[in-house]
Every structure is written in C-alpha cells, then in structure tokens.
Assembly symmetry: C2
C-alpha cells in the first residue's frame, strides 16, 4: 500500500532520490565501493560536496563570490550556538516566534546581550509579531522563517542595517523569496534538503571576523570556509543524498517551480480546513505556513475515528508535535498534490461519517 | 572485480551491513517508508537508538548503570572541544602521539592549563612515549589509543587517579582491553562503528558536573544524557547502520573474536613488511598499530610499479595520509584475511619483478 508521509522531519524525499541513495550504498558511481566506505578526500566525494555547495547557492540565486555554502555537523541546534559565537560581540536582536527561536535566544545569551524585539508567546506562538522595531547598534538580527511546530511563517523579512540571520530549517528551497537579503542562513537538512545528519549553512563572508573572542576551531565558520567544508570528516552519505535531492529540485524547474506547487498544496488543504466545520486551523490566517499546516478537531472526541481513517488511507505522521498536540500536515517539496488531495478526502469522509 | 578496501576511514563495513542499509533506504522494517523519511521520535527509531546504545556498552563489557553511551553529532573533532568544555576546570594532562592528539590539545588550551606529559613529535610520531609521569591535581588525562595517520597504538594505558579520557576513533571494538579503565571514550563512527556522520561517546556519569563554567546546551554531555541521545535530531541513517554493524560484530562473537582475527591480519602483513627488503615499516616495532599499518618503499622509484600492481589487484586506498606520504593499509574489523593475504602477495610480486 502506498504511504503518504506527512512527517515534519526527517521527512519525505523524492522516490528517485531514495532509489539512487539506496543504489549508492551498494555501489557508488560504478566504483565497486559503497558510498559508506569511500574516503571523504577521494576525488569522487570531493566532486559531490563541491557540486552540492554550488548547487545550493545556484538554486537560491546567490552570488558565489559573496556567499559560501557549507555542510556542517550538528543540526540547527549547533547553529544556535555557532551564530553568537561567531557574530555576537555586544548585543544582538532576536524575534521570538516559537520553540526553536526560544532555544536560539537561550544559547545567544551566553555570549552577550540579547534583545527580544517581539514575541508571540502570549498566544502560544499562533501568529507572527509585526511592526516591531529593530534597535540600532546590534551585531545582527535573528529570525526563524518558518515555525515547524506551530505552523506559522514569516511572509516578509524586516530591513535592518545589521546582518540578517535566519533559521530556515523548515522552508528553505520551498518558496520564492529574495534569499540575498540574508547574510547567514542555516537549515538542518532533514526537511527540504536531505536526510538528517548534516546542516546547510550559507554565509556572506563579509560578516565574519568581527568578534574579539577566541572561537574553538570546529565552531569557527572561518575554519570551515578555509577547509572548503572539510574541516573534519563530513557526513558523506547525508551530503550525497542532499546532492541527489538538490539535483531533483533543479530538474523540476528549481525553487520557483516548487514554490508554485507548494502554494497549490497548501491552498487545497487550508481551503478544506476553512470549509469543513469539524476542523479548526491553529495558526493566524495571514501567518499560515505553506510547509507545516497545524489544526485541531473541533470535537476532540472524534480523534479515534479520524486517526483510524487517515491511517487506513496510508497517511503517516499526521500527529502534531508532542508539545502542542492536535494535528500537523507537513507538506514539504517531495510530497505530492495527490497526497494532499487524499488528506482532504479523508477529512470529507470524516464529515460524512460524523 | 572484487574490491579490497584498505581505506583509513570512512572505511569498509561488512557486505551484509551494506545490503541491509541499502534495503532500509527503500523500506525500513517493512514500514513502506525509507529510513531517511521517518521521524527520529517514531517508535521504530527510538528502538534503534536504544538498542545501539545498549549494544555498544554490552560489546565493550561496560556496566550500563555506571556508563551511558551517546550517538552525537560532529565527529571526534567536536569531542576535542566538548571534553575540556565539560571537564576542564583548572588543568588537564595530555599525551601527544600525533596529529589528532595535537588538535585535541589545541582546543583544550582554550579552557585551562594543559600539561603535555610527553610527545613523540621529535621522531614525527613514529613511536609511543613511555615512562612519563601523570601529574597530580589534574582534572583528567587524555590520550589517543591509536594513531591512524602514523600507525602507532598504545598497548597499555597509564594508571591515574584522575578520570581517563580516550579518543578511540580508530581502534574501538577492535581489541580485547579493559574498557572499564576509561571514564570517557569517544570515537568517530567511520572506522569500526559505522558510516561517517555520528560519533559514539561513552561516559562514566560520575565525572560530570564538576566545572563551574556555563556550558552551551548542545555541548553539555548532561543535556544529551538527559534526552537519551535525542537532544536534537540525531543522524538517523548513520546510527541505524552503526546498529547493523554492532549486531554483525556480536554475531561474529564480539570484540574478542574480532580481536583475534585482527591480530592475525596484522601479523600477516607485518611479517611480510619485515621479510620483504623492498619495504620499510614506519612505526616503532613495539608500538605498531593493529589497525593502520604504515610503510614506505625502500626505493621510492618503485612506486609506479607498486601502485599499478595493487590497483590492478582491486586494492583501494593504500596511499598514506597526505601529511605523511608513503603507504597505509587500514585493516579494520570488516576487512577480511583474504584481502590482507592478497596485499602480501602483491608485495611479493613486486619483489619478484624488481
């Protein structure tokens, strides 16, 4: 039975990427060797990481003289630490839009003054604060473009003279925005990039080298740039699979092409949520995420019936994050329109039954 | 043509591990889902990481009340930083036996006084220093059990009242030693554990909580212990493949069984190196590594002939580390006796030709 995987991450990747990755575990590039047993310094893998780094910049239409792309260890959580370690000399400003933003703020406070410019915690992060002011004299401004847990998304980004840093873990490569407005973008791979185990970091090199503290080598962006993302043994398989996925994305027509499909998928699902009286969407309408669609049952007693219905339909991982409950449909790049249609049909079936 | 992979890491794993890992990329546990698209919080993956953590301790015969095993991000290089961050209050002692030990020392110096108890740098790390004294009043003693680049290995470990910390990246699970003499063991997975992208860290919990500094969450061993190695999204595929490999190791009879085979393989190869006048082993005889066997050609002009011979035989990655040159045969757990025999035959063929 076909599975429709709405997991929030690690998440669905294109079937052809799974196929190619599986084959490479047995035989990579017709070398007679597994992708798991080759040296990261081998000519073939150096070509992989170089292509992946260049393709990431190309797909985001970023100038590869100004920006550099790195595949690092540790997830976005490591970037919560590396960002202030490398950039925070005196004070930084953060926008608090949810759990991950709060965690980023917590780590930054170890390094300097952190100004929380606004927070949506008063309504359990179901909206994006607007009309906040970004103070002057800050080392950088940090925001989270999409809040995976709550299903909210920044539709535009504030202007500031300070470097703009963005955690894009759950919506990078999914929408058509001007990525060159950012000076530092980071994203755990396990949504629209590839499998868990590597993190894409994109840096405007000009913002580095301005803090006075000593930075441990492995936390220093400059070490990684100097070593061309090979400061230490990288996550070979995760990076190779990310490359397969970025190649797939390019073949589909790039970010703009996927952005259109993603918008269509989200509209289908929100339309059903708005129409069907059994469901209540969680996020504030104008701040709705196009990647993670959060909702509740108007009558929680229907949960057993609903859960049975979607599970019988082959739908996987529709439960909300354990901290929020309810439901969450994550509709990343590789999830098809058909899967979303199926979910709306299940919702209609529940309505017919109830 | 069969490949004989002597790569120093990432390195050969058992063929059945490659097969199982490849299948799981298409369908994990008959779930209809790829191992790459399941949530790390799913019941099936929680079972994987728990089994891997327990099996690691079991195979090393470590008490799982005293010790905890974690699969972390970042490689051994991240542990060069995490060790002093978590343990170094005033001073620590380090043994310098090569490149990786030197890098560990460099990072520790950011956190306190580092006493280098001995170094073999005077002879380009071709031996292991002995009869050094470990000072009193230190927070811990750090050593590198096996020096992948130079092909040397500690045959015994010093006694000390201070916690004993060991980078075992290239020989964990390969030899029969008392692993309970250590308080902290770390090892990048990409030799005898699994693919690149995760790091095994084993900690005697009693040594933690003794430094006064604030430790960033993701660098704090306690955060990872508290979250049962799921502080953030772990490297799902690398951990699953590590589990497959640890299961294989158990099926072979565990560490003791492999240790015997490893000794036999090393003896075969060193015997040929000692016998064959065309080759000169690099490491001091009594300090020879059983995992990484380094050597040179007595007459470097034969390198073209030798390189052609081993490449024609299907041997892969016999070149020494780029910093040392020469040759290196890495004979990790999954490399068979037959592959080592083949290499000795190639060496004899060179002798017959020369």
């Amino acid at each position: 039975m076909k599975k429709h995987n709405f997991s929030a991450g690690p998440c669905i990747l294109p079937a052809e990427v799974f196929q190619q990755a599986s084959e490479a575990v047995l035989d990579f590039n017709n070398s007679g060797l597994s992708i798991l047993e080759i040296s990261h310094r081998s000519k073939d893998f150096v070509a992989v990481i170089e292509e992946a780094r260049n393709l990431a910049l190309e797909l985001l239409q970023l100038d590869n003289n100004k920006y550099t792309a790195l595949f690092l260890h540790g997830g976005a959580s490591m970037q919560f630490l590396m960002t202030p370690h490398n950039l925070l000399e005196k004070k930084a400003a953060y926008l608090n839009t949810g759990t991950w933003a709060s965690k980023a703020i917590k780590e930054a406070k170890l390094f300097g003054e952190v100004i929380e410019v606004a927070s949506s915690e008063d309504k359990n992060f179901n909206y994006i604060p607007k009309n906040f002011e970004i103070p002057t004299g800050i080392d950088y401004f940090h925001c989270t473009s999409n809040n995976t847990i709550y299903g909210t998304q920044l539709k535009s980004f504030p202007k500031s003279n300070a470097p703009l840093v963005c955690d894009m873990s759950s919506d990078i490569f999914s929408r058509d925005i001007d990525y060159s407005q950012f000076d530092l973008i980071y994203a755990g791979a396990q949504k629209n990039i590839g499998p868990a185990g590597t993190t894409l970091v994109i840096i405007n090199k000009a913002i580095l080298g301005k803090v006075s503290r000593k930075i441990p080598s492995i936390l220093d962006y400059k070490s990684h740039i100097e070593k061309e993302s090979m400061f230490n043994t990288p996550s070979v398989f995760a990076i190779y699979t990310s490359l397969l996925n970025l190649r797939w994305l390019k073949k589909q027509g790039g970010v703009s092409a996927l952005a259109k499909i993603n918008k269509h998928k989200a509209e289908l699902l929100y339309a059903e949520l708005d129409r069907n009286p059994l469901f209540t969407p969680y996020a504030n309408k104008e701040d709705r995420s196009l990647m993670n669609i959060t909702f509740n049952l108007a009558n929680p007693e229907l949960s057993h019936t609903f859960d049975a219905l979607w599970q019988q339909a082959g739908i996987n991982a529709l439960n909300g994050h354990r901290s929020l409950g309810g439901y969450r449909a994550s509709i990343y790049n590789a999830l098809t329109v058909e899967s979303v249609q199926l979910l709306t049909e299940v919702m209609q079936e529940l309505e017919n039954k109830a």
